[in-house]
Symmetry: C2
Subunit: 182 residues, 2 copies
Amino acid sequence: MSLRYAILTLLATEPASGYDIVKHFRETLGYFWNAKHQQVYQELKKLSEDGNVLVENQGQEDKPDKKNYRLSAAGLAELQQWLAGSVPPNKINDALLVKLYAGQFTDVANLKAEMHSHRQTHENTLQALLATEQRYRKLTPAEQAHHQLPYLTLRRGILGEQAWLAWADEVMQVLDEQDARS
Amino acid sequence: MSLRYAILTLLATEPASGYDIVKHFRETLGYFWNAKHQQVYQELKKLSEDGNVLVENQGQEDKPDKKNYRLSAAGLAELQQWLAGSVPPNKINDALLVKLYAGQFTDVANLKAEMHSHRQTHENTLQALLATEQRYRKLTPAEQAHHQLPYLTLRRGILGEQAWLAWADEVMQVLDEQDARS
DNA sequence: GCCCATTATGCAAAAACTTGCATAACAATA
DNA sequence: TATTGTTATGCAAGTTTTTGCATAATGGGC
C-alpha cells in the first residue's frame, strides 16, 4: 500500500518515468524501498487513472519513448493526507534468520558460506551509502539543510548496515568455533 | 515463500498447532518473522496436503479442539533441501523512512510524534529481547550450546533494535533543532 | 556478425498476503 | 449482566507482489 506513497514522494521532488523510479529504488533507495518494474508501472497506471499524476509522452530519438509522470495537485493532497496519518511499524520477514534458526538441520560449512555471501552484499551496500554520505558532507550548509530529512534516512541505512556487519562478526566467530570443535 | 520453511523449522523442534505457531511468531520471533493467522492456517493446510506434516485432532475439554501438527520425514527432507540452497537477501520496505524522506511536505510536530511512537515500540521490543537474553545466560553451558543458533538470531534482534534506537536519537535531535528554528 | 546489457514499457497469470466475516466456549472485568 | 479477551479454527474476497513472457532500438565487446 505504501508503494503508492513512495512513488508520490519521488514525483513530489521531480517528474520521472517509471524506468527512472525503478532505477532510483534499485540504485539509491534500495536500503528502504524495493519494487519490481511491473509493480511500479502498474501503480503509475492506477495513480494516473485516479488523477494523482499527469502523464506526458516523450519521444526520444536514440532510445525508446518514455512517459514522463508528474504530481498533480490532487496527488500532492493525497500524499499529504497519508503523511498526516501514522505509518504502521515495519513488517520483518528475514529468511536468513530462519535458516540460522534451523541451522542444526544443515552443516556449518553451508551456514558459513551463506553468511559470507550475505556479508559481501551488506558490505557493498554500506560502502555505497558511505560514499553518498561523503557527497552530502561536501555540500554547502544551505544545501545540506535542504536535504536534511533524506540524509536522516541515509543515516538509517548506514547505522543499519553497520549493525548488521557487527552481528555477522559475532555469528562468524561462533560458526568458526563450532567448526574447530568438529 | 519462506513462510513454509519458517513453519517447518518450528515444527522440526516440536509439534504445534496453527495457533501455537502464530503465537510464537507474535510473542517470540516477531523480530524476524511475522504472519497473520489465516496465512499460517492456509500454509499448514498445504503442507498437510503435500505430506510434509502430519495432523492429529486433539479434543480439549475446556478449550476449543486443536489440530496438532508434526513434521513428517518428507517435511524434514524438504526443509533440508531448502537449507542447502541459498536464501535471497532481505527485501526492505520501510514506510517510516518514506514518511521522513517526504517530511518537507508535512510538519515537524507530526514527524516528531511519529518517531516518538515508533521509538516506544522499538524500546518495548528491545526490552523483551534483552529479557530473553538474560534467561539464555542463566542456562547451563550445555543448554546454551544447544540453543546457540537461535541465540544468534536473538542477537540480531538486539543489535538491530539498538541500532534503530541510536538512529532515532539522531533523528530526534535534528527534529528538535528544526523545531527550535521555526 | 552474434550475443549481451541498457533503455523503456507492458500483459497475463500465479502466488503471497491482507481484510472481513464467522463460529464457539470459557474466564475475567466493568 | 454485558462486554471484552483468550483459545482455536476457517472461508471468501480482495489487494499486493512476483514470475514469465513480450517487444524494440541502440551500443559495446568478442
